[in-house]
Structures are given as structure tokens and as C-alpha cells.
Amino acid sequence: MTPLNRDQLVALAKSQIIETTPQALNERLRNGVKPLVVDIRERDEFEQGHVPGAVFIPRGFLELRIEQYAFDRETPIVLYCAGGVRSVLAARNVKEMGYEHVESLIGGFGGWKSAGLPVKVPKMLTGDQKVRYSRHTLLPDVGEEGQLELLAARVLLIGAGGLGSPAALYLAAAGVGTLGIVDFDDVDLSNLQRQILHSESWIGKPKVESAVARLKDLNPDVTVVPYREPITSANALDIIRDYDIVLNGSDNFPTRYLVNDACHFLRKPLVDGSIFMFEGQVTVYHPGSPEEGIVQGPCYRCLYPDPPPPGEVPSCAEAGVLGVLPGIVGSIQAVEAIKLVLRKGDPLIGRLLMFDAMDMTFRTLNVRRDPACPLCGEHPSVTELIDYEQFCGMPARE
């Protein structure tokens, strides 16, 4: 056998293998009979970007694994590497296995890219992320895929106080990729008994700034979007629109009705929590999602058609609250938000969870949609955001 040098071997291979241009391949992928496109580069090269729809089989495993993707020897196959040399050599070996229509991409991935053709960058966990989220990815209900969904998720927190603090910390730790936080308050010494997001050095400074600093320090994967303003009928829709899920930790009735109505109009799931002294409530108001098999549940107005008259229900500032209580309730809200992102488990839709720290009891009560609900009922009378201060300032029934 005549010895061949590198160039001679490549020339021989090229004489035996059909080569295709990036443009021609692109055309076939878009409009023709789609060939099996195989990226034979190394994993890190593939992860940085590849031809859309390509499967990844590194050169060293090509012959061993190609049958998993194309058992039929008639299958048209296009191999590509970085520059078009390795793939033409590899194609010869695949052809020897009996694959009749195996081609090599001229110029490889470099040629594809410089032709300006679309590149798919697969989302993958980085090395650090694999370690950081390993206790999540070990869970069959999360896995790498679920973790990537968390990283792509956008959750809005109304309030960076008692409920918002643990919720924000756990959601950030869990790698929820974007956390919006609405709060116009400054950190006060009296907050620190329960609002674990903040610390003494932040007293007198905006809560959202304290939150951004703490959460970025906890997990740099998370983008924290601060809104240092009260949420109002004027800005609620614009703020909430950008998020997948809203977690309500507000401390007053007007905001609760406002957030409920805005979430209803925008069809966003709302994870609601509230606390009082030693007692907490959590539920999920969900607009329904047929593709996920989720039936629309009740809204806040189904449960509480009218607000209590001002003063009838004392606030935490008047009655006090056990510091740990929001830690439990806000953490449960975080669990529910994560379940909604992952589409796993049984969310608290149509169920009101009651927690009593004194009795140390959890109970779930069934709550239903009210056909007469002014917002989500059969004949709604609330069809846009209203003046919620006025709504809550009025006597409950006149």
C-alpha cells in the first residue's frame, strides 16, 4: 500500500465524498428533505454554538454511535467539524459502514458561521452551576432541564419585607434567573426582627438596594430588577407584564386587590401569602393553563369580595407578628413559585393553606371560584384597574 501523507489522504477522501456548501445545507434544512446533521467536534465547541438541529457525536465516537441516530443506511447524513477537514475524513469511515448518502460540510462550522447562517447556542449549565445546583439536579423532578427552566424564569416579588425576604432569598438561591422586587420603603431597625434580607448596615437605605446587594452576593446568576416605587394602578400592568409569576408579600388591602386584578388581566399566576401575629395564609390564584392541565382557580375577590372597613383588621404594625412566621409563610410561597416554574406537584390552586404557629397546625381549606365574582365571574363589573385606596376606604357594604 502506497503511503499517503496528510494532504494526499484528504485529497483522496474528497474524491470519494460529496461535499456540500453551507448555503445548500441550509436550504435543505429549511425546505427539503432534512439530512441528519452530525456535529463531530468536541463538546465544548458544540456547546458554544452549532448548526440548528444538529446532533452531537464527537469524532472519536462517531462510528460507535451513529446507528443510534440513523440505523437506515439510506439516511442522508451531513457531517461537519470546525473547518471541513476532519469531517471529510470521518465521512469515509461512516461510508464504510454502508451509509450511502454521507456528505461533508465545506468549511465546517466556521464556514457555516461566516456565511451568516443561524447558529443554535444550547442552554447548558456551566461547570460552576452544575456544582451550585447539584442538590436540585439530583432530584428527578428538577434535573438539569428543570434547573435551566428556573434560570430562565422571571418572578416578581411585591414587597421586600417579611414575606418577600425569605421568598427572595430562596428563589435567588434556587437560581430563579430574574427577580423583580417592588418596594418603596427604606430599611428600618424594627424590620430586622423578621426581614432577613436586610441587615443593620442598610438601615435608612432603600430596601430594594439592600435586596439587590444581598441577592447578588448570594447568587450572581440572578438578575435582580429593583422597582423603588409603590405599585399603583398607573404602573402595575407595565411592571407585572414582564414576569411569569407574581409573589405577593404586600402589607395592605389596596395593594392586594390591585395586584390580584392586574394579575387577572395579564393572566399571571399569583402566589399570595399573608400573616398576622402567629397565623399565616397561602394560596395560589391561577388564570388556568389548558396546555399544562391547570384549571382556572378562584381569585382574591372570589374569597374576599369586599375589603374590611379600615381599622377593622389590625395591621402587623399595630398587633405585632412573630418574626419567624413570615419566614415560614414566605418560604412556602417560594416553594409554590418554584413548583409553578417546574410545572410539578400540586399547587395551592383552589386551596387555602392555613398555618397556626401557636397550635402548630397546617390545614388546607377548599376555596372555589365565585360565579358572581366582580372580576373573574360570569358578569364582571371590574374590567380595568380602579382606585384601590378609594375602594378600600369605603365601608364594606353600603
Partner: protein
């Protein structure tokens, strides 16, 4: 006797008890008897028309009474009546 679970904001009317035993064959009767035993309860739970206030939910066992027979929902020994008012606190 029916067990009535008292929410935190109303416990000052029940000398801080979180659950009390009250007689009555319907939810309506239980509330009337609750007010007899713990004066002030009726005022907190019912509006001028005697209806349950619209920011308060009452459950028999796990179900809200509007989905049952309202104030006429029958109760018997061993049933649990829960009073759940709206709470706004997130602080």
C-alpha cells in the same frame, strides 16, 4: 357540639382560645350561640342584614359554606367550623 376555630384577630373575644365548642344545628345557629357565649362575635362576623361579612369566609370542615348551604349548612358533633377573615399583612 361543634368545634369552632377562632382566627387570631378574634381571639381576644374568646379569652385567647383558638378553638371553642358551640352548640347549634346549622352554621347560622352556631354563630348566634357563639355570640351569646362570647359577646361581640356577632358584630365582628355579621353585617347589618345578618349576613356573614364579605371579607370573612366560614368553612364547615374543609369547604366554604357558600359552596354548601350558606348559613343553613347543617353541622353536627365532630364537625369543625373555621372562621377565616382576610388578612393583609406581609410585613
Amino acid at each position: 357540639m361543634t368545634t369552632v376555630l377562632i382566627p387570631t384577630p378574634l381571639r381576644r373575644l374568646t379569652a385567647n382560645q383558638s378553638r371553642v365548642e358551640i352548640s347549634g344545628d346549622t352554621v347560622g345557629q352556631v354563630i348566634v350561640n357563639l355570640d351569646d357565649t362570647y359577646p361581640g362575635m356577632g358584630e365582628r362576623l355579621l353585617d347589618q342584614n345578618g349576613d356573614i361579612k364579605r371579607f370573612i369566609n366560614v368553612f364547615v370542615n374543609d369547604d366554604e359554606i357558600r359552596t354548601l348551604q350558606g348559613a343553613n349548612t347543617p353541622v353536627s358533633a365532630g364537625d369543625r367550623v373555621s372562621i377565616v377573615p382576610a388578612m393583609a399583612g406581609g410585613c
